[in-house]
Structure formats: C-alpha cells, structure tokens
C-alpha cells in the first residue's frame, strides 16, 4: 500500500507527479490540465454566484458517501439553493502524511462522479501535505461558481412574507445520524445511510415551474438552524408542525439512544423552500418525484419576532431555537 508523504506536498517533483498522475487523469478537465497558476475560462453570464466550504468530516468514508462526494454535493447545493446553475468547482486538499493513496484515489473518483452527475467541471486545485498529526486524514475545500440563468427567478430573502408555506424536500437528519452511527464506541450494527446528494436537478426543475421565494439547504445545525436563519434574515416568524416533519425511524432511534434532537441533525441532500400557497401542489408534485417524503411542514407569519415556533403533537407551542450545543462527531 502506498501512502502520502511530505514530499507530495513540497511543490517539487512528487507534488507534480501526484497532480499529473492522480488528480488530473481522474478530474479530466481540459481547463485543469493546463495547470497554470489560474484557470481561465469563459462564463455564460456576467452575473455569477460563488460559495466556498471546507469539509472535515470524520470518518471520511461513510454509508452513502465519502468526503469527496460530500465536498462536491455541499457546494453544488449551496449554489443550487441560491437559484444558480452550478458550473465550475475548485478543489483544494490538505492531506496528512501517511494517508493511503488508494483512499485518496477513491475520494477523488467520487468527486469526479458527483461532479459529472451535477454537471459541474473541476477547474482548479491545490494539494498541501502536512506532517502526521497535523490534520486528521484529509480536509477538502471546494469553491463553486454558478451562473444565473434568469435573474427574476432568483430566490431572495425579500420575497418572504406572511402566509407563505414552508416545504422540506425529504426526511431530515440522515447525514448527522449516519455520522453518529459510525462512532465505533456507540456500537451500532448497521450504519444509517447519509442523505448526501446533489440537489441541483430537482431545484432546477422547481425553478422552471414555480416561483421559489427562498431556499436553503439543510447542513450543519439541521432544520432548526436553517429555519432560524431564515426567520432572522427575513424578519418573520416561522411555525412548524411537529407531526408533519418527516423523520425516519432510524433517525428517531438514534436520537432517543443519544439524547439528540432530530431538528438539529445535519442533512446533506435536503432543503427547505418558502413558496406561495398557490404553488403548493405543483411544488410537491415535482419534489415527490425525487423524494416521496417531501412535504409541507409549516408557514410564515408576519409577526416579526424572528422566531421559529414548533406546534407539538400534543397541541403545545414552543420555541425551536438555533443549535446551542456541540454535536460531537464531525459531520461535514
């Protein structure tokens, strides 16, 4: 078995060999292959969107994906929920010496696979190697660019107002639960499958058919945190009905076992959308083609407390706040 060594990151001969022998053949982008200090290309429009994320998930292979797939989906999804068509991605690696090259290959292939599925091209990259103990296996940064096809279609926080409804694109908490289920000390037999997936297709179909007032992908902090961010930015209140929020049995089980709350568990292939009431049927029709669990979960009120409230199964109402606590394992 071959391992990453410090020389793979010193900028010299072995870095060159790693880039030309591993990254470029897998990524296969013509732009990337030029290997210049910057990658130059023509955009389809002058209005672009950019997003960046670093991925530090542990374990880096998990049920339903790996850090490579995650790093592509995460960035693609940030672009997609902003109403953009994801086009280009950069990939920057920080690797611990001793990392198995075979694993790196798997991760890089997985990035390529999901880049293809999402229709994005990997156009620039970087690799740093740090000594043993200076990072935890592998960290990946991806930065993505999307173009705006129709400006008036762009979701925007200003479009949110009272009376609109809140939709979730599928059952929540799978990715977070997946990562917990991998914790060896916990000893869960069959791991829970992550929901990690690119969302650009379903979103693209939505954008073409209904007016999406606002969207947000559910990542760290889960549904509760995403909704709170929306309430804050839009200066509205959001009401969620506990009974309507789709949560799988497995995720529920893990929450009970660990004393966690599924509203705060990360997803990596789910989003919430705020839409006008009249678009509900059409929206759900489209969403359900991709995920049967998609459903309406609540509504917007103009009361401007900037709070999220949860209507409980028993008819009570309580605050659903942002995440305050450490969710222990690393999830993205």
């Amino acid at each position: 078995m071959k391992f990453i060594q410090k020389e793979h990151g010193n900028g010299g001969k072995q870095t060159y060999e790693l880039i030309n022998g591993l990254f470029k053949p897998i990524f296969g982008s013509e732009i990337l292959k030029r290997g210049d200090d910057s990658s130059i290309f023509d955009l389809a429009s002058k209005k672009i969107g950019v997003t960046t994320d670093s991925f530090v998930v542990k374990p880096y292979f998990f049920k339903g994906g790996d850090i490579g797939k995650l790093s592509v989906c995460g960035t693609v999804n940030d672009l997609a929920v902003s109403g953009l068509v994801p086009k280009y991605i950069t990939a920057s690696f920080i690797i611990e010496e001793g990392f198995p090259i075979e694993d790196l290959q798997k991760i890089v292939r997985s990035m390529k696979e999901y880049a293809d599925i999402a229709g994005v091209e990997i156009v620039a990259g970087d690799t740093k190697v740090v000594e043993k103990g200076s990072c935890d296996g592998i960290f990946i940064n991806t930065t993505g660019f999307g173009v705006c096809e129709k400006e008036e279609r762009l979701p925007s926080i200003e479009k949110i107002k009272g009376g609109q409804i809140v939709i979730v694109s599928g059952d929540i908490g799978r990715h977070g639960a997946c990562i917990y289920s991998h914790s060896s000390e916990l000893g869960v037999e069959e791991k829970i499958e992550s929901d990690c997936a690119p969302l650009n297709r379903v979103i693209n179909e939505l954008l073409k058919n209904v007016e999406i007032c606002y969207m947000k992908d559910l990542t760290r902090g889960g549904l509760a945190t995403a909704l709170n961010e929306i309430a804050q930015k839009a200066s509205v209140d959001i009401y969620i009905e506990e009974d309507k929020v789709p949560v799988s049995n497995e995720v529920k089980a893990l929450c009970d076992i660990l004393g966690l709350d599924s509203y705060y568990l990360a997803c990596e292939g789910r989003f919430v959308a705020v839409i006008n009431k009249e678009d509900k049927q059409k929206t759900l029709e489209i969403l359900k083609k991709y995920n049967k669990e998609a459903c309406e979960i609540g509504w917007i009120e103009d009361t401007k407390e900037k709070r999220v409230y949860l209507k409980t199964s028993f008819g009570g109402t309580r605050i659903l706040d942002m995440l305050y606590y450490e969710m222990l394992p690393r999830i993205c």
């Binding site: 000390e185 916990l186 709350d261 199964s313 028993f314 008819g315 109402t317 309580r318 305050y324």
Partner: protein
C-alpha cells in the same frame, strides 16, 4: 383514549380543584419532555411546572469540575457529554480540552472500559443518580477483572431520597410530584414511600408525552381524592422492589456519604462513595464545598420553585446557554436552559 381527551380531563380536574397547581419533577429527562412537548404552554394557567434539583449536572459543585480540569493534564477524563459545558471556577471541561486537556466523551462507562488499554491513565467522572450508579458499578467491576491499575473513578454519584426529603421539608410547598421513572426502575416503588408523609400527590412517571399526561391525570385525581399514596404510572418498567441485581451492584461497590447539592447545600446521605475496600480505584476529589463563587445567579431559588427562570434578572440578558451564569442554564436538562430554549408561546 385520545391525548386531547386526556388533556381535557386534566384541565377539568384542575378546574374542579379550583386553583392552579404547582407540580415539581426532579428528573432532568422529565424537564425536557415537558418543555419539548410544550406542556408548559398547553397547561398555562393550570399547572406551574417546577424543575427540582434532579439534574445531576445542575447540582454539581464547581469544585468537582475544577478538580477534573486539573487532573485532565495528566489523566484522560471519561465523561458523559452532559458534564462538558459545566463551568468550573475558571474553566469547563470543554475549555480544558480546547487548551489541551485530555477529555473523552463516553456513551457508556461499561463499553468504555472494554476499549481501555493496559497502561492508560483514565478517570471516570461518575455522576448521576441511582439510574446510572449500577453502570459505574459494572464498570468498576470490569476494571478490577481486567486488572487495570491506572483507572480511577471520580465518584460524585447522588441519591434521590435524601435531597427530595430536604426539598419537601425545608424548601417547597407543591401540589404534586412527578417522581423519576428510571431511578424508580432501579430502587423500586417502595423506596418512595417516604413521600407519602408529606401529604402531596405523587406518581412515578415514564418519559413519553403520554406518560407525563397520565401522571398529571393521576396527580389531579389524587388531589381531588386527597389520596397521598405513591402511584406508579410507569408500571411497564417499574417494580415494587425495583431491580434487585442493580441494587446489589450499588451496595457491593458504593456506600452512602453526604453530598453537596446546589440549591440545597450539603445533604447527609445524599451521595454515594466508593467503599473503602475498593479505594484504590477512587481518586481524591476533595474540594471545599462550602465556598461558592459569588454570583447573582438565583439557581437555588429556581431549583426550589421560589422563582421562575425568567424572574431571574440575568436570564436571557447575560445568562444564556452559551455563557451560562448558573448550573440551571448549563445543563440541557436544567430548568433555565429548557425555559430558554423551548420557551413560552409568544414572548416570554
């Protein structure tokens, strides 16, 4: 029966009683269940929920944390996640870890022992009530079996009866008590008989929403009937005599000691310590439990039901889950924390 009917019946009973009720629970898991299910809003005007000193994290003295922080530079501290955020006089365990202290979060003290290696220097932060005590007893047994010489227990286990007596005797007047279902699972219904002497409606309860509702129904009926015998709503689990094996484990390894409870002070017989014959597995945790940081925190009043969290002048303004000024805000099961996070419907 529908839950709606059940709620209607409880409210109806309270209307018959003719005043709003003060109901206390002494288990953090009950606190969370009540707030998460929104019962605090559902029974507004009917029931005033008080969270007593039943969260082991909330009642822990900061001296215990300080000592663990100190030890974490040399020993690996195994702790439940609950304890991570509790501030000591200078640092929490979480802050100690950020500064290089060796802190590990465990899910189970028994599983944790199985993964230990021979020479690892490990301290188990043993906190909890009788529900958790058998787990640490089993853990200690395994340590002895495996011959691990560098594993110690920082024992701060608590008992439920003595603090509850002190609470009812000296601090509080309530109409009903929701008794801790999982403590009762271990110690049995009979161990709560002493509550009857206080002439208060009491019921051992499970933790699901319907368990709480059934318990509230039992309390309201008992008040109407002036029936002060301890009821057991959690029959599917809790037995008259409890779990005899589990109790045996506790007796084998631990003995009663006096223990500090935030809000209640030092309570004779309120804690468990490792028996002398096993003292080589116990680490000295002695701290001065008479000294406490000066603070405007009114935790003690909250824990004894004298005020509601939002009546504390620090609540929400300077005291939040991120920078808690008192133990009731630190623990996710603390009453100030639950109140902060799950809050009241429309404003506070």
């Amino acid at each position: 029966m529908q839950t709606a009917e059940l709620i209607w019946e409880i409210k109806n009973n309270i209307e018959k009683i003719g005043r709003s009720l003060k109901v206390i629970e002494v288990c953090g898991t009950h606190t969370v269940s009540i707030y998460k299910n929104g019962f605090h809003t559902l029974f507004e005007g009917y029931i005033d929920f008080i969270s007593g000193p039943g969260c082991p994290v909330c009642v822990t003295h900061e001296g215990y944390i300080d000592r663990l922080v100190e030890l974490s530079s040399e020993w690996t501290i195994y702790t439940f996640g609950d304890l991570l955020k509790v501030p000591g006089s200078s640092k929490s365990l979480s802050q100690a870890r950020a500064n290089g202290g060796k802190i590990k979060v465990m899910y189970s003290p028994v599983d944790a022992v199985e993964h230990l290696e021979n020479n690892e220097k490990v301290i188990f932060a043993a906190v909890g009530f009788e529900t958790t005590a058998p787990a640490f007893a089993l853990s200690l047994e395994k340590v002895i079996e495996k011959g691990l010489k560098n594993v110690k227990f920082a024992c701060e286990l608590k008992t439920i009866d003595e603090p509850l007596k002190s609470l009812l005797q000296n601090h509080i007047r309530v109409d009903g008590i929701i008794l801790p279902g999982h403590v009762a699972t271990v110690i049995g219904v009979d161990s709560f008989k002493f509550v009857e002497g206080f002439k208060v409606a009491s019921v051992i309860s499970g933790f699901e929403g319907y368990d709480i509702l059934l318990s509230l129904l039992s309390i309201t009926q008992d008040i109407l009937n002036e029936d002060f015998t301890v009821k057991n709503e959690y029959k599917r689990v809790v037995k008259k005599e409890g779990n005899v094996i589990a109790k045996g484990y506790i007796e084998k390894y631990f003995e009663r000691t006096s223990a500090f409870f935030r809000g209640l002070g030092l309570i004779p017989g309120g804690g468990l310590k490792i028996k002398d014959e096993f003292r080589e597995y116990s680490i000295d945790m002695s701290y001065d439990n008479t000294k406490q940081k000066d603070s405007l925190c009114r935790c003690a009043d909250v824990l004894t039901g004298k005020i509601k969290p939002f009546e504390c002048p620090l609540f929400e303004k300077v005291c939040t889950p991120i920078s808690p000024k008192g133990a009731c805000m630190v623990s996710q099961e603390g009453s100030c924390n639950a109140y902060f996070r799950y809050g009241k419907w429309k404003g506070r």
